[in-house]
Subunit: 396 residues, 4 copies
């Protein structure tokens, strides 16, 4: 009875990687409607709705540019609009995605000052401030930081980084990647003085992948206007001009925009504050489980715990990917792999997007049972500890 | 952090009533296709596929009649085809659905011998045998039993009932309601010598409600041919005749038939034996949880435990419906209510249909956390016990 | 180039039978959502919405009972609630559906006075009045008429029939089948003094098949209360009682009800008057085409032209079904067959439901080209004539 | 009756712009499934299926790179992989899309020799050959041509252009835009010796917009390997490497890939030759209609007629966009606008993608009736002429 022989999975797959996340039925059904003329009057209503809605989610009064692209494309867009080959930028090694963005910056000709990190901490505001203070000649054109590092479950403190830049009285632009935080973790483009916020559709926005976002400050727009860097597809100017009446200069990903309209509606029905509080609760419950299992959370600084995902360190001598494969085979749940230097050493639990208490409990039970079936040493009680948090029995 | 103030639910609802069950995406998407001409050549392929597929699920070589109706309609069809007003039938009071079927039988003019029950046991083969043995004149025309009593989580032992009828050498027809067992619990129309099996779409068949089924033995067909009872919509004859070429005498529920075709495909991809084993595992895990909580399972005879649902008795002084409402409000999970004489005294956990280990764990965690938030006295450890069953740590 | 060799059809099928009709994407997508607990609080909102909405479509303040059934089931429901075996009823032979309803009435034990017809006219108010006038003893318990005879494209004049009954001062109930008129052709349950209106989901309501309707007057309810006829599934009483709070006594076809809610919304967005005017225009254009082709419309009385479908008589020596098969094979369009005595002699063009001018033009072009490819003698100009009507160039 | 007062459209919109095209239900429903882990084993099956399938549609044994982007992005990808700022390229002014691609080339730093055109002819193989022959120093690095010019309905003769290049013994790469021809008009990447073929999802591939394609010859790959141009998102190397096992280096547009898999299945069920023949028939019928109306086809050379769309010249003194608006308002059909220098002077009828004879007839009837309601002078008979082509009565 305890040795299922079938390999056919039934019931719903648990997609608990830190993105793409579980897409709500309402969003999928919205996408599943006939494509309309992207030059016709009906489209303008859709276009304006998603552009204005996106601004509310990014918390900005400035333009938000929506690309048919992955989030990686939106990274590139942020760079080619504001920076030119040879420009110097300051980045912080928070994990694999910061490293990939740095690699891209290099390929696009930027000179990157990369503040090394241990992949267990966020970008250090003090270190950034120090580097900028040293840069008397203001050769650093931009500070580029990943808000929520998807590879580690560490959330950098953007307001403190902003203050560090300001305290150094440095004119560098601030570019922030919110691909895995937007719509899950509190984020304020305008209030925090960010110049370019990079987003993607497939995480907190609860959409399939295929849309990239740039929220763009006036300062960034001015930098772009002055920037002679060669670019075409990613160029903000034409898109923002066309967006004024709800259109795009080239064919947008119409059906994904249907989904975006519905996803924004859902986020606003719940309320962004409630969305963030929900993610905080689920993250707290997850960490309670991890501690009860006797395992270590990768994120070393409680101020930087991610509410979108939790990376868990495997006990020595146990391979995280073997564990993940066992969980997938036995319990039909996808967990996030350890990336690059973390390969085999951590697994990641995504608890963001269209999610709730019982989905989280199924997730954590799958992890705890996965330890059992994969022979990973653990203490019982993780699921119990999470229930105590969610039911209010325990303070997290 | 532990006091969510939002009333907007996110993530997937946990529909853990014992039917309607969670409809697979594949089935919903199959239904979501344009309706076709029910008299055209394409329809015949659909019709034959679902008629033949249904026969494999009912495990019969005899006709299966598919109605545009609820399961209640299929109850009526079984009666009006084989029995006439004034006919005497033998029924067993296994719970609310047996009682409702009896009420229907009365309304349709049958004289019902109702073997009383305590709603904690299945139909008693010995009692049935005894009644039939007494009936020397063979005035009892049919024995009517509910296989899986949805109101109690008790599964009657049909093969033993069949043997009891045979041992009494009684010619009564055997009519069995499998609405909440078909596709979840082992059932064999032909091998068990059942004359009419009544089914519905919205439980183990993983469809929305709207289809009713009658599997019909040769003996039942002969009884119907001789039966002068007035009937039209439910009459088997015309439907079976039209079904030979894949059609229906009146417009069938085309789109639900699309879903039925897909659902049968899914059941056969998994394999019926694997489907039943899965339900057995989940039921065992659920019972382990109930026992660990220190609660009582309504079903009193382990031979009759239902693999489709488990009815749990509430501690004295606690209302099951208040508990259910708390679970719905806080954890967005629907549990089954106690029906009729069980109102307020039990709640029912559905663990049938399109379901898996982690969905069950979310379900049981919702129950355990529900006890906490609703102030119902319980022992911790139910979720833990279920995990031990599902992970193979404990023998159930 | 003119001899396509592929048998794989592309593009959208033209479903131009007089029902099931083309289901709107919005309705299919509404159906394609997870089934909910039919006893939970969310369901009540759905239930009340469709019950109240259906009343607006039937134009009644009285209850509308919605069954999980085909329209045929709703026929049976109308009979078994109001009439008893042995009761005498008056019916009019308007075509195949009137004949089938009469057959059902006979099977259910009614004694039917069937006013013969030529299948080219509606029910004759004068003949009905005469029969009722003769019935001094008021032995006729009901007049049963098909509003729009789907087999012939003839719409009976219900208000005149009502007047005939009134003029005869006869107490008979008036039962009307609106399966293929409701939501397409003006119909007023209350204003016209109808006692039971029978409806189905798959025509003007733009849904897949699977729902049956009975709108029920106070007089019909009183008749039902006094009626001792055996019935259970179809019994109005329990359903109407449960409907008061938005529920059903047995599991309703939840997902089709989602679709019904959306379909009613769409009908009301367009406005019922606009819906009827649209159907009138399309019918006028279709008749203009038929006349231009030199063919004869089956309906012999212009007062009774159906706005939902047009039955066209084939030239002598040409088989309508061979023509239909050629159209299906070559142009992927389903046309309605000639039924019973009309077999091979007429084909039917459905122009009801979710439909518009260009869909009609594709339909009529398919007919006109079908004549060409099937070698049916015709005059060119049908499509042209319809365009003149639709573009306003010609008065229909 | 001829003056509909409602502005609510019913029935299906006719999306007859030359892309985005009507997306088949099967494709939309395939997209409407839960997003899966793009790093998991199930994804690899999807990835390999679409990569291999795309190669069959492009008719190449070389890699096809699939981007989360619009077709415009795929234009940029073709350029930045093979060419560097300062490189000289030869382009032909076939219409607005050739002009836009030229503008992009300029923005990306290329020096463009632009062979002027009248927007009524395709790229002239002789002119291209002559320019290349003059280029003794082989400073021209690439010839860039639009296969099917979506703005004009003119299809350039790629094989002849290939021959012209070969006859000039010129080493330039051949880059071809097939955004509006792929899957509609015969195209052979390998056989025709094309180096980079640019495609998009939203035309003949019958998908929503959001995917861009580059089919890449060995020669193009070699050029890319030697090309030091700065690029990251569009770089072929990493994608092709990851594609070998079915993955992507960044998150692909998973759900659109579901749709692509289904669309390729549909194209292959019909057979590419049959798909092309169907488009040829529909284009021939459309041209017959245009001629019968007494209007002029924009494409001046019958060898270059597009089978995907037909651009129609408006009579002098009549504005094409006013006509299009009237058609949209009255008949709910979207036609393509005249672009740039053709603004107001032509409208475009898309007859590509998921389409069939009766959809075309609805389309052409909408145009003919549109002339009537908009007061555009025309001769009757266009619809008739198209029917004669489609029914085989007339040779086109």
């Amino acid at each position: 009875m305890n040795t299922p022989t079938t390999t056919v999975h039934t019931g719903r797959h648990f997609l608990q990687i830190p993105g793409p996340t579980n897409v709500p039925d309402r969003v999928l059904r919205a996408i599943d409607m006939p494509t309309i003329d992207h030059r016709g009057p009906e489209f303008a209503g859709l276009g304006l709705a998603v552009i204005e809605g996106a601004k509310r989610v990014f918390r900005t009064a400035s333009p938000v540019v929506i690309y048919p692209s992955s989030g990686t494309g939106a990274w590139e867009a942020a760079i080619v609009n504001t920076l030119s080959p040879g420009d110097r930028v300051l980045m912080a090694e928070t994990g694999q995605f910061a490293t990939l963005w740095r690699t891209m910056a290099g390929r696009l000709g930027l000179e990157v000052d990369f503040i090394e990190g241990d992949w267990r901490h966020g970008a250090d505001p003090a270190a950034i401030g120090a580097r900028l203070a040293e840069d008397r000649g203001h050769t650093i054109k931009a500070v580029m930081v990943v808000h929520n590092e998807t590879s580690t479950g560490v959330t950098s403190r953007i307001p403190e980084i902003r203050r560090a830049i300001d305290q150094a009285s440095h004119p560098a632009l601030l570019l922030v990647d919110t691909i895995s935080s937007l719509g899950s973790i509190d984020y304020r483009h305008d209030e925090w003085g960010v110049d370019v916020t990079v987003g993607g559709s497939q995480k907190g926005l609860m959409l399939p992948p295929g849309l990239g976002f740039n929220a763009v400050s006036d300062k960034a727009l001015a930098a772009a206007a002055a920037n002679t860097s060669r670019r075409s597809y990613w160029d903000w100017h034409e898109i923002i001009a066309a967006n004024r009446t709800g259109y795009w200069p080239y064919t947008p990903a119409t059906n994904l925009l249907y989904g975006l309209r519905e996803a924004i509606t859902m986020l606003e029905e719940e309320g962004l504050e409630a969305v963030f509080a929900r993610h905080d609760r689920h993250a707290a419950a997850t960490r309670a489980a991890v501690r009860a299992w006797g395992m270590e959370i990768l994120c070393a600084d409680p101020r930087e715990y991610s509410s979108a995902l939790t990376a868990v360190m495997m006990p020595d001598g146990h391979d995280a990917d073997q564990f993940r494969e066992a969980v997938l085979a036995r319990f039909d749940m996808s967990l996030g792999t350890g990336l690059a230097r973390l390969k085999g050493r951590v697994f990641r639990i995504g608890h963001l997007g269209h999610f709730n208490d019982l989905m989280l409990m199924g997730t954590l039970a799958g992890v705890e049972m996965g330890f059992e079936v994969a022979g990973v040493p653990y203490r019982e009680g993780g699921v119990r500890a999470a229930m105590d948090v969610l039911s209010g029995k325990a303070r997290p």
